[in-house]
């Protein structure tokens, strides 16, 4: 499964600049030192607590489709702190366009990552960070 997943995504390992005391909770689940780029069609957004989930259909080079889950902040963070609504995050959801999503991957190798950036076909993007001092950064 892990190998198959690796084939599905374009890996781009980068140094993710974060403060030293950051991300205790995120690092329990995700690797902040790695960024994976996933290209896929957004199939659904679960606007739920305690974390929003966005699901993508990703097609590998053999044409096989599988699901990749992207996790992000709770709804009240998105709405209150960033001004981000489900509609804005979904973009032109109905057009089923291929989006480019950057995540910190799950440490257990599952097709799951923590959202850092999502880029839409017209070039606009949403880039989120767990800044120092936030609960996620402890």
């Amino acid at each position: 499964m892990k190998m198959m997943f690796a084939a599905l995504v374009a890996l781009s390992i980068t140094v993710f600049a974060l403060p030293a005391a950051a991300h205790h909770s995120l690092t329990a689940e995700f690797d902040p030192n790695s960024t994976v780029t996933v290209k896929g069609v957004m199939t659904s957004i679960e606007w739920i607590n305690p974390h929003i989930y966005i699901y993508f259909d990703v097609v590998d080079k053999d044409g096989k489709t599988s699901q990749y889950a992207v996790e992000t902040f709770p709804p009240n963070h998105m709405r209150s702190r960033y001004g981000l609504t489900k509609q804005v995050l979904g973009g032109d959801f109905d057009k089923k366009q291929t989006l480019v999503v950057e995540v910190n991957p799950a440490k257990n190798g599952k097709p799951l990552g923590w959202l850092t950036k999502i880029t839409y076909p017209d070039g606009h993007f949403i880039k989120l960070t767990a800044e120092p001092g936030s609960p996620e950064a402890r």
């Binding site: 689940e29 607590n49 305690p50 009240n76 702190r81 960033y82 981000l84 609960p135």
Partner: protein, 275 residues
């Protein structure tokens, strides 16, 4: 838009008085808050027809007031936008009887596995925090909460005796009385399924909570004392909080809570989940 800008200006001007410990400065903000209480009465305290202070309104939001919404197609970079902080408040810690100290430590260390609030259970009183919205009549006050774990309410019946015909619950049974201009809320009938805060602060089913709410201008002073004769060695007086009236904000329904991370966690490290 203009009113929102005005609201931001008001909040900014009142930040010294704000009890909510902002990002990265819980201890510092707490110190400022304690020293600033005497200086909060900038406006007259409105009153209802019965002469008691008018506590109606939106008083607290864990994060907020919200920033303006993005438009579809608009780019956003959190590193540039510098989003507003999260109002996490650290209530302090109670003194447990010696025989329970080890249990608290164990629960604290295993919080990601055993804290009921991490698994979408009701936070309970007092962990749910101060009321986010108050609806007040002469006979009762209703406290409303848009919480990470769901939508919760409490009905505070004025000058009434505690009910004896209901099961114990996470948020218990609340009755209120006026002590001068201070609303005193007495809470009993709390079950032991909740924690009092983060860090393993369990309690018994004999917990008794007293909240004191006093409006001064557009500030609501909120104090909590917790008694638990079974597990505490003395009553726990939480750190005080001062809440600002949020005039241009309305409470919203919380999306449902479904915890899905537990199976992916590789260690027990965690962040605070304070309210």
């Amino acid at each position: 838009m203009r009113s929102r800008v005005t609201t931001v200006a008001i909040i900014t001007a009142g930040i010294v008085c704000l009890s909510l410990a902002l990002v990265g400065g819980q201890a510092g903000a707490q110190g400022k808050q304690d020293g600033a209480r005497a200086a909060t009465a900038s406006a007259a305290t409105p009153r209802l027809a019965d002469g008691h202070p008018d506590l109606n309104g939106q008083w607290h939001h864990r994060i907020g007031p919200p920033v303006p919404q993005l438009k579809p197609g608009q780019s956003y970079d959190a590193a540039i936008a510098k989003p507003i902080g999260i109002a996490q408040f650290n209530p302090g810690k109670p003194a447990y009887k010696p025989e329970y100290v080890a249990k608290v430590k164990d629960l604290d260390e295993r919080q990601v596995q055993v804290d009921p609030a991490w698994y979408c259970q009701p936070p309970g009183v007092p962990r749910v925090g101060p009321p986010q919205k108050i609806v007040q009549t002469a006979k009762e006050l209703v406290f409303l909460y848009d919480d990470l774990n769901g939508n919760f309410f409490r009905v505070v019946r004025m000058n009434a005796a505690h009910r004896t015909d209901i099961e114990a619950s996470a948020h218990g049974d609340s009755v209120g009385r006026w002590d001068g201009d201070t609303l005193v809320v007495d809470v009993t009938n709390l079950d032991e399924t909740t924690w009092l805060s983060d860090n393993g602060l369990f309690h018994s089913d004999k917990t008794h909570v007293v909240e004191r709410l006093r409006r001064e201008g557009d500030t609501l002073h909120y104090d909590v004392t917790v008694e638990d004769p079974v597990v505490f060695s003395e009553p726990w007086k939480q750190r005080s909080r001062d809440l600002k009236l949020m005039k241009d904000y309305e409470i919203e329904e919380a999306p449902y809570c479904s915890e899905r991370d537990a199976s992916h966690l590789q260690d027990l490290s965690h962040h605070g989940n304070l309210r």
